[in-house]
């Protein structure tokens, strides 16, 4: 464990070969947050190496260190045995490291070919860019990938999958020694994933090393020779793929019993709080009907783009509905009036807390008090004291970890930001909480805390409508699961009926098991 070099290099990375890249005990802090405490990974020529870990395990920070974006506070990086320090992304690229980021990083105004060759365009006499050669080279890379894309078209408007393909083409054209892929398959179709694996194989045969990050374990087992697991910013283990199983990998990723992650108090559901009938928004979702009782968590599951967040937005009134009714405690909500929903006791914690949930530069206490200001007002004025009192109260109840109440909310870690958003809405004392991706991008420990908070609220009788893309979270927390597929409810499952398989089938539209 302290010696990642000593682990077996696996079937393709023969032990007699010297490692291409060694990252040893790299650490990186951002303010008070330890994004990476011990990032260690060793890549041998010719291997595909999986890097696994939950959201917040430090994988992306590790990738950005390899990319030269972040400079580690401590630790060493060796490339072909030589210690290197990257001053910026250009250094990393020059050292033969090529990165495919999770989020495509294209220039929308430039052509596809120029996107691939930015900063290293083929040139002719007089250092002038040779556009013909550049377009041909791009076409060649696309041919290698087996995709049809016009090198001369503008990158603006490419589908996410096509953008990802341009990213892959960029990395390929570099003839990198080390190729790092941060969830490259998330937006790709099965055929494209197959092609990507072919390309990975070719690269490995040429002696390159691939560091592959994916949440799809089946892909990892199909394409990688070794696997490194990280948890809470630390290296956990490296092992040949043959020596691990899906279960053992998940156990080392999570590092604790699933029960501890998903506390669940049995509560008898109370009266119906939210009743939605025939809710329709044209082209987005259709004929959505469900109810949520006090004291229960109803989960909206489904693939990204199935319309889950959109349903929540229409219920809350951010988007107008074209048809259908929304009732809270029996009283109909007017169409498209969030203020009315708030007055009726509905709170919405959005998915994107940085953009929609918090005012990042504003103080922590002010953020928490923000949704409760009408209540705190005396003669139209807000007293700083009452504001702070309310915020401290909720910070304590949610075990918020912070420096000072007056610090900008941006200084909090992702998990604590999420708690702050929660506190902001809970301070209003809502009877229905709609929460979109409650634990996206936060570390395992805080995740469990957020779950415990939700469980506590439900035990007190609150109704919760939860949207989540993480199946374990849905299975662990929900009393009932509604599965959406392309804007329609394809299954309603009780806690007993719900399992990974039935949800995935309904989410992909293979089976409509409406009960």
């Amino acid at each position: 464990m302290n010696d990642p070099l000593g682990t077996s290099p696996g079937p393709l990375g023969a032990p007699d070969k010297d490692p291409l890249l060694v990252l040893d005990r790299a650490a990186k802090r951002f303010g008070a947050v330890h994004a990476l405490a011990d990032g260690s990974v060793t890549l041998y020529p010719g291997e595909a190496h999986a890097l696994l870990g939950e959201n917040g395990a430090g994988k992306s920070t590790l990738v950005k260190i390899l990319a030269g974006v972040h400079r580690p506070d401590s630790g060493t990086l060796l490339i072909e045995g030589r210690p290197v320090v990257f001053a910026g992304p250009a250094d990393s690229r020059a050292a033969g490291v090529s990165i495919i980021y999770q989020e495509p990083t294209l220039f929308p105004d430039l052509t596809v070919a120029e996107n691939i060759f930015m900063g290293r365009q083929p040139r002719r006499a007089g250092r002038r860019i040779d556009r013909g050669a550049m377009n041909r080279a791009a076409a060649e890379v696309f041919a290698r990938l087996g995709v049809r894309l016009d090198p001369q078209r503008q990158a603006r408007g490419l589908s996410v999958a096509d953008q990802q393909i341009v990213e892959i083409a960029k990395a390929l054209s570099l003839d990198a020694k080390v190729l790092v892929m941060d969830e490259p398959t998330a937006a790709l179709t099965a055929v494209e994933v197959e092609r990507l694996f072919d390309v990975m194989r070719t690269l490995r045969e040429q002696g390159a090393a691939v560091l592959f990050i994916s949440h799809r374990l089946e892909e990892v087992f199909a394409s990688c020779q070794r696997v490194t697991v990280m948890r809470d910013g630390r290296f956990v283990s490296t092992a040949p793929i043959g020596e691990v199983t899906v279960d053992s990998v998940i156990r080392s990723m999570v590092g604790r019993d699933l029960d501890a992650l998903f506390p669940k108090t049995r509560t008898a559901p109370g009266e119906v709080v939210l009743e939605v009938e025939h809710l329709t928004r044209e082209g987005v979702f259709e004929d959505i009907g469900f109810h949520v009782r006090g004291g229960e968590i109803v989960a909206l599951a489904g693939l990204v783009g199935a319309g889950r967040s959109e349903v929540a937005r229409a219920v809350f009134g951010i988007d107008r509905r074209d048809a259908g009714t929304v009732r809270v405690r029996g009283r109909q909500l007017p169409n498209g009036v969030p203020a009315a929903a708030m007055a009726a006791g509905v709170a919405l914690v959005p998915e994107d807390r940085r953009q929609q949930g918090l005012v990042m530069d504003m103080a922590i206490d002010r953020n928490i008090a923000l949704a409760s200001l009408p209540r705190l007002r005396r003669l139209g004025l807000i007293r700083r004291g009452t504001e702070r009192e309310l915020a401290s109260d909720w910070a304590g109840r949610l075990q918020l970890k912070f420096g000072g109440m007056g610090d900008p909310v941006a200084t909090l870690s992702g998990g604590n930001q999420q708690k702050a958003v929660l506190g902001k809405w809970l301070a209003r004392g809502p009877s229905l909480l709609i929460i979109d991706e409650p634990t996206r991008g936060i570390d395992v420990g805080t995740k469990a805390e957020v779950h415990r908070i939700l469980d506590g609220l439900v035990a007190e009788g609150m109704a919760v409508l939860m949207i989540s893309s993480e199946l374990p979270e849905v299975l662990g927390m929900a009393d009932r699961v509604l599965v959406l597929h392309e804007g329609r409810i394809t299954a309603e499952l009780s806690r007993a009926e719900a399992d990974e398989d039935t949800i995935m089938r309904a989410a992909t539209g293979y089976a409509a098991v409406a009960s």
Binding site: A67, G68, V69, G88, P89, A90, D91, S92, R93, I99, Y101, T105, L106, F107, P108, D109, L110, E114, M118, G119, R120, Q121, R123, R127, R128, I129, R148, L149, D150, R153, Q154, R156, G157, L158, S159, A161, D162, T189, A190, V191, E192, G283, G305, E486
Partner: protein, 345 residues
């Protein structure tokens, strides 16, 4: 899967049309110039004589020249508002040097103007890239600073035509095959800059920085250095424009170049340079300058109050921005419907 094989053709085709439309922007402005010219000529035949065409070109030249530098700055998602004051300062200082040193070489007059402008540009670039204060604020402040310095230097005086060597002012009125020298000089600068903006890695970096700053950083583009260079070039061209201003008018006081900065930004935007960076050409900006000046002269020829001139220029600016926005929305919508079809397939 079949959707994957067939669908990409659709957005590409739709896109090709959108892109062609954008590329045709320069053509569109050129046509607009001709239309305004033709319409004015019909109502006032005197408009089409050689002299007034020369005036059209000469009048647009300085703004077009400033537009070249401004384009380089704007494509990086920045803006240079200090150019008007730089024109004034460089024109006066060069004139003052001629006034007090009668033997001062004519060519050095231009070099001096360029140097003054480049120095101001370097300050703009350094402050913008080091402090990361928005260039809108930095160059607005610089506009006032340079205006103030100009006021102190000028101290209420005026440079008179008598003080400037004749060989210097020649540039302002001589013609070659009927085309004013000034217009030829600017045309050469526009052509050279236009070619350079397409053909060198460093200039493509400018577009990349404006198109997606985060991606530019990840691609290892030295954004600070590039943006700095763009400001220096913009300043230098503004300095050159100041030298030419002196040659053209042969006299200059404290008001020289007043208000040029907004005319230049208008010309650049009307010329199709995206105000949020990433796209646009120097040719478009130059044609934008020509269009604004043609409308200006047309209003004069039609004996319409000169106050209307500014209103028309402003209206044109709004129209250009609305058109870009409309185009962007249309492209986005057509792509959305394609992706919708994609999902259904």
């Amino acid at each position: 899967m079949t959707a994957q094989a067939t669908a990409p053709a659709l957005p590409t085709e739709r896109f090709a049309r959108g892109a062609a439309l954008l590329r045709a922007r320069e053509l569109g402005i050129a046509i607009a110039v001709l239309l305004v010219f033709a319409a004015t000529t019909i109502s006032n035949h005197a408009f089409a004589n050689a002299h007034s065409i020369q005036q059209l070109l000469t009048g647009a030249s300085l703004i077009a020249l400033l537009g070249v530098g401004e384009t380089m700055v704007v494509v990086t998602r920045n803006v240079d508002l200090s150019v008007g004051s730089v024109v004034g300062l460089s024109a006066y200082v060069v004139g003052d040097v001629f006034k007090h040193h009668s033997g001062f070489p004519v060519l050095l007059g231009y070099v001096l103007g360029i140097a003054i402008g480049a120095a101001v540009g370097a300050v703009n670039g350094a402050i913008t890239t080091v402090t990361r204060v928005p260039s809108l604020v930095v160059t607005l402040a610089m506009l006032y600073v340079v205006r103030g310095v100009d006021g102190v230097v000028v101290d209420g005086r005026t440079i008179d035509p008598g003080a400037i060597p004749k060989s210097y002012t020649e540039v302002g009125y001589r013609t070659f095959l009927g085309v004013p020298w000034l217009a030829l000089i600017v045309a050469v600068v526009v052509a050279a800059a236009g070619y350079a903006m397409r053909s060198f890695r460093a200039s493509r970096d400018l577009y990349a920085i404006g198109s997606n700053p985060e991606a530019a950083a990840l691609a290892g583009i030295p954004a600070g250095r590039r943006v700095f260079s763009a400001f220096v070039i913009s300043g230098a061209l503004a300095g050159l424009a100041g030298s030419l201003f002196l040659a053209l008018h042969a006299q200059v006081d404290v008001t020289g170049g007043n208000g040029y900065e907004l005319t230049v930004v208008s010309a650049v935007v009307v010329g199709g340079v995206a105000i949020f960076g990433g796209s646009g050409t120097v040719l478009g900006a130059a044609l934008g300058a020509l269009l604004l000046n043609t409308i200006n002269q047309a209003l004069v020829a039609a004996k319409i109050s000169s106050f209307w001139n500014e209103a028309v220029a402003g209206g044109l600016l709004l129209a250009a921005i609305a058109f870009d926005r409309w185009l962007g929305l249309r492209v986005a919508r057509s792509l959305q419907s394609v992706q919708g079809a994609h999902r259904d397939a």
